[in-house]
Every structure is written in C-alpha cells, then in structure tokens.
Symmetry: C2
Subunit: 320 residues, 2 copies
Amino acid sequence: MSRRTTQDVPGLVEKARSGDARSVARLISLVEDASPALREVMALLAPLAGGAHVVGITGAPGVGKSTSTNALVTALRKRGKRVGVLAVDPSSPFSGGALLGDRIRMQDHALDPEVYIRSMASRGHLGGLSWAAPQALRVLDAAGCDVILVETVGVGQSEVEIAAMADSTLVLLAPGMGDGIQAAKAGILEIGDLYVINKADRDGADQVRRELRSMLGLAERPEGAWNPQIIKTVAMTGEGVDEVVAALDAHLEHLTGSGELERRRVRRAREEIEAIAVTSLRERWGDVHARTELDVLAEKVVAGTADPYTAADELLESYS
Amino acid sequence: MSRRTTQDVPGLVEKARSGDARSVARLISLVEDASPALREVMALLAPLAGGAHVVGITGAPGVGKSTSTNALVTALRKRGKRVGVLAVDPSSPFSGGALLGDRIRMQDHALDPEVYIRSMASRGHLGGLSWAAPQALRVLDAAGCDVILVETVGVGQSEVEIAAMADSTLVLLAPGMGDGIQAAKAGILEIGDLYVINKADRDGADQVRRELRSMLGLAERPEGAWNPQIIKTVAMTGEGVDEVVAALDAHLEHLTGSGELERRRVRRAREEIEAIAVTSLRERWGDVHARTELDVLAEKVVAGTADPYTAADELLESYS
C-alpha cells in the first residue's frame, strides 16, 4: 500500500460524508480498480452505511429504463432526497468496459450536487452485476444517499442478482414488447416488489396489466407478505412517477415493519462475504502465470487418471 | 451410501458402455440428483471419457436451435456416429424444472438406440448451465458418444459458459432477428468457432452474413488460429447441414493438430474442479438450517461492526 493512499482514505471518506461528489467518485474508483486501499475503504465505510433505501430497477431493453430512472431521480429530488444511481451496463465478459459514460447518461441531473450517478461495466466471468457493485453501493450509502437506484438490463441472470442486492425491486415492462411477459415468466415474476408498465400511453398497456395481474395472482404468498403492486407510467412526461415513489415508500415501510429488511440485508451480506471469500480462494488457486496445483489436477482429469470430485477434494486439502 | 447404489453403479457403467440407453439415462439421473453414488459414478467414468467431440450450440430464441440440432443429429447418424444431445433449458433459478421433457423434443430420433437425448434445467443460483451439465457430458462421453451436442439458449451468460464447456462452439443466427447481431456484439462474436445463419431461404440472410463477416474481420487473431466459418443453412429441409458437419470435423482436426483441444479441455477441467470445490465450500459455509459462522458474520456486516472483506477473511480462517 502506498503512502499516498494510506494518507488519503480517511480524508476522502470524511469529504464524501460531507457531500463532496468528487470524493464519492474517487472512493468508487478505488473500489472498482480493486486498489490496495480497497480494504481500508471498506473498513472505514462499514459503520457509516445502512441508511439508504436500495432500489433495483430491471427490465428488458427498450422498456425505457434510463428514462424511468431519470424521472424517478427528478421525483425524489423534489422531495429533497439525496439520490445515488448505479447503472450497470451490459458488456462482454471478455472485453469489459461500460458502454455509456457517466456524463452521457441522465444529463438532467449531471450538475445536481445531491445526485451521484455512476456507470459500471458488468464484468466478472460469472456475468451479471459487477463484483464491485455491492462495494460501490456501500460507498453511495455511506455518503449519505437516501435512495440508491441500481439499474440493470434484465437479461438472464442480472435480474436475479439485483433482487439479491436491492431492498426493493422494480420490474419495468412496456406494451408492445412481445417478449416482455414471456421473459417475465422466466424469473421476473418472482422478484418484483413493484411492476411498472411504462409507455402506458401506448396501445396494449391495459393488456400487459391484465396478463401481469393474472400471472401474479397465481403465485402463492404467505400471510402478511407484500402484495406486489402494478403501476402505469409515462416516464417521458413524468406521469405516474409520484405513484411509483409512494409505492416504494410503502414497500420500505412494509420491509421495516415486518423485519424483512433486516433479513434481506443479512442475506445480502452473506452473499457478499461468500463472494469475496470465493474470489480470494480462486486467486490463490488460479494464478494464471504459474503452473498451479489446480493445473496439475486438471491435467489428471483430462487424462482420466482422476475424476473431478476427487480432484476438488485434493484442491481443498492442499489449501487447508 | 446405500448398499443398493454401491452394488449397482459398476453394473450400470458396464451396461452404459455397451450401449444400453436406459443405463445411460439412469447414470445421468444419479448425477442430476446429486445422488450419494455421484462420486462413485464419476470415479468409474474418469478413465472412460475423453473420446467425444463436444459441440456447443447457442443462439437467441427463434433462430431454430432445436430444428438445427435435429438436422445435425440426422446428418451425424447418416455417418454412423453415436450422438448425445444435452439440451439445457432455460428455467427460473427459483422454481427449477425443465420446460420440455426429453420425449417431446426431437421426436425424429426418439427411437434411435444410438442417439441419447437429455434435457436439463439450468438451475443453480449462478444461472446459465446446470452445475450437473459437465457431469452429464462425462456420462454421455463415457457411454461412447462420438459427438455430443450441447444446446443452450444464448441469453446473457450461457453462451460464455457453453464456450468454456465445448470443444467447438456453433453460434446460430437467423435473418430478420433485429437483435441477432446486436446480441452478437455483446459476446457471441468472441466465442463462435462456427457461425450458422439458419433460415437462409429468407430475406436478409446475405446481409446477416455481410455484417457478421465485417465484424469478425475486425477481430485480431494470432497466426495459426482457427478462422471462424460462416455457413448458411435451412435446417428445416436439411440444406447446408452437411457443410456444418464438415466444418465441425475440420475444426476438430484443427484443435487436435494445434494442441488447442488439450488446452481447452484442461481449462474446462480446471473450471469444473474449481466449481466443485467452491460448491463444497459453500455447502460447509451455508447450511441454511443452522445459524452458521457465515450468518454471524453477515449480521456483523449489516450492523456495521465488520466490513465484508474482514468478514471474508474470518470465514476463510474458520474453515482452514
């Protein structure tokens, strides 16, 4: 660890707490770059986080995610909330790199000092959300954001991961997207706390609502469980967005009152700790520059002199 | 381990080797159910596998994956090959369960004793391919399949995982799928050994080919590397399918000659061993019925008395 980072981190955290956007951005960069200061940052942030309402926003391409996020930020700012936006962009796991820069996105709020906007690539060979996303969330949380919107493209796995990361999950749909409801069947229906039918001024919005309602009606819910809400919006004009904010508030209240907030957050922390531990083990096992124990075992498996289960046992033994 | 499974497994493996489809199916079921006999099965299969050419087939919904797989099976059977088909169906990680049964799929080959067809759900909270898929592959391989076709829906992560599992990866496209090439940009272009433009009798096939060619042309390839091929087919009538089989043969020959086959398989075995080891660790950490070390640590993180990195260190220490 360089002298410079050791000196800077507590100062950065201090400044981030007092609302300095540049310090927030630098802390997120330290996290994203897996800087040697990462652990120091995390240790300093630990007691400061936990106050933000983390809202996941997911939906297929074309439903208007960015516009909806933008409209939500406007509505939340009107209420005086400090808002963080973490936009996880799809990108190849091979090439990395976000498709959109922070500045291009949501220009309406680019100059608002109470809005922190950050785009992240969804790198990591397990796909979906960036491994750094939970840590970046923690930075925004510790920096005093009241609400953090985490926006991902709802394809494949990411909508499930977002549900694991967020306190409330908002699933966006739109009429005229033939695959919308079909995709929903494949998992989205099980994760939404709030379903927003955007572009509701178009034909077919009521049909989407009917289909959604009948599908949600089939799900069994334990007594006292949250009843997922369906709201129609036109994000472009802001129509319906206040209702969305109110529903998010109601959901947070439900989570807090029922003890579900604590349970979700403990579950989230479990997964985070586990992921960090697994990553740390993989690093020890898989140094790509050296011929490791794992390589030797893999060659045995290919040669047929070991099966993968025996090899895994040996790998674990060699570690402990 | 029950007496029954200890007695049965060597017999089952013996029968599977001699071409008994029911024994192959039972072995895959043992693997899928994570039966106590799983380790015995794997140990017995280890020296028997390695002979099959594993071909991954991926593509967006609607490009004709099942029809193409079916046509490929027909072409391979004409050449006297024993063929395995592993169809990994998309399914919710929450609800599990394959959408299509083995019997409904590919009825043309349902009664052919030299064709083993198996559908698997893509369960597992990391999504994509089933954790059991590599083990099921090993069963089909040990049972003497010359070629194993692994079919997945190319959304999000699965096409990357299939590339990691297969010797050769075939990416299916079709004209008139606006998102086809766009999806391709997000990762498909980096994994295909063979690009098949199906439904080539429709308008736009040549345009897809042109776009694909120009995009593939941009990629830098080391000298001696395989040059990904583009083939047009009409899977419904079988047109072009012989060319696909020939290209797959050529690719296998290239892999063998260049040493790349061995390298890919060692890489695959590494990932398999690693995944088994990680799963085994997760099981030890995450017993959902007991309050584990991990729960205690997660609660500390939520309370802000520990950061996730320190918690991960403690978790790893408590294990070793």
